[in-house]
């Protein structure tokens, strides 16, 4: 290296800096332009407005569909309790109740008959007229 005197350091720094040359790739400017155009496309107000319209156009029906599903589902479940089905259920209940009452009555009658017979026997054993006991 050529001798660097302390008092010409600043001049040497400037001169040697000029000797350092770097050249960008020949397509550098084009690449910058491409990136700028791509960035402009992303920020294009027209395209963003269209995207907003599409977003609302899809979001609103989707929201409505969700709301309808939520509200209709309980209604569908409640179809089991329609007036016709409720009446049928009541009718079934009536039938079952009557049936149960009849069975209870039959059981009671049979039990009563047993008791009467037992009393009749008891009376006979004691020398009474069993028929009078039963009456």
């Amino acid at each position: 290296m050529n001798t660097v005197f302390p008092d010409n350091l600043e001049q040497r720094l400037q001169q040697d800096a000029e000797r350092i040359q770097v050249t960008a790739d020949q397509h550098f400017t084009q690449r910058v332009s491409n990136r700028i155009n791509a960035a402009q496309q992303q920020h294009n107000p027209g395209s963003s407005r269209n995207r907003r319209y599409w977003a609302w156009g899809l979001a609103v029906p989707a929201a409505l569909a969700v709301v309808l599903l939520v509200t209709l589902n309980p209604l569908q479940q409640s179809s089991d309790f329609s007036p016709a089905s409720a009446q049928l259920l009541v009718s079934n209940l009536d039938m079952n109740l009557d049936k149960a009452l009849v069975e209870r009555e039959n059981d009671f009658e049979s039990e009563l008959t047993k008791v009467q017979n037992d009393l009749h026997k008891l009376g006979s054993m004691m020398g009474f007229n069993g028929a009078l006991l039963v009456k």
Binding site: V4, F5, P6, L13, A17, V22
Partner: protein
């Protein structure tokens, strides 16, 4: 490109002219690339950082104020892009044979005072020295680019020069004795 020409291009670019901005890009691309490579980026990374800086400058062109030189504003953006890719690291005390610079730059730095500066100075001091003597920015502009105070820049440049003078004086003892005899 004169200042007036540059100002005209910037005004047209701010109005939306990509063609005008392309002329600004062509004017600054080599300088930006050299600054980023001297900062320690390899050429491919430096090109990518330079492109990012120029695209970012385009996107924020409406925020540029003519009270500052456009180059100062652009270099500030470029420095931030470089930091994202490679933060400045403190040099080790021992001389490191590997400069960390791109090989094509290393070849150019042979017999160049900047190779000594790169080895002897802390990265931030080297960057301040380069911006001032290599790129021609004033102390205030260097401070703005590096996000430092002007006092820091003045002190750093002074210390960097002193350090280099000491290195060259030690390397050239005959020259120093001759100067003393003259004075």
């Amino acid at each position: 490109m004169t200042r007036e020409q540059e100002r005209d291009l910037i005004n047209r670019a701010q109005a939306g002219s990509v063609a005008a901005y392309e002329q600004i890009v062509a004017h600054y691309q080599d300088r930006l690339l050299r600054f980023l490579m001297m900062r320690g980026l390899q050429q491919a990374d430096a090109e990518d950082a330079a492109q990012s800086a120029l695209v970012s400058a385009w996107e924020n062109l409406s925020g540029y104020r003519s009270k500052w030189q456009f180059s100062t504003w652009l270099y500030t953006i470029a420095r931030r892009c470089a930091i994202q890719r490679k933060p400045l690291q403190t040099n080790n005390d021992e001389l490191d044979a590997d400069t960390g610079l791109d090989t094509c730059l290393e070849q150019q730095l042979r017999d160049n005072v900047w190779s000594v500066a790169h080895r002897q100075l802390e990265p931030s001091a080297f960057q301040a020295l380069w911006l001032h003597y290599g790129e021609g920015f004033s102390g205030a502009e260097v401070a703005r680019i590096m996000d430092r105070t002007t006092v820091w820049v003045r002190v750093t440049l002074h210390r960097a020069r002193s350090r280099l003078r000491a290195v060259f004086a030690n390397d050239n003892p005959v020259v120093e004795q001759h100067e003393h005899s003259i004075s």
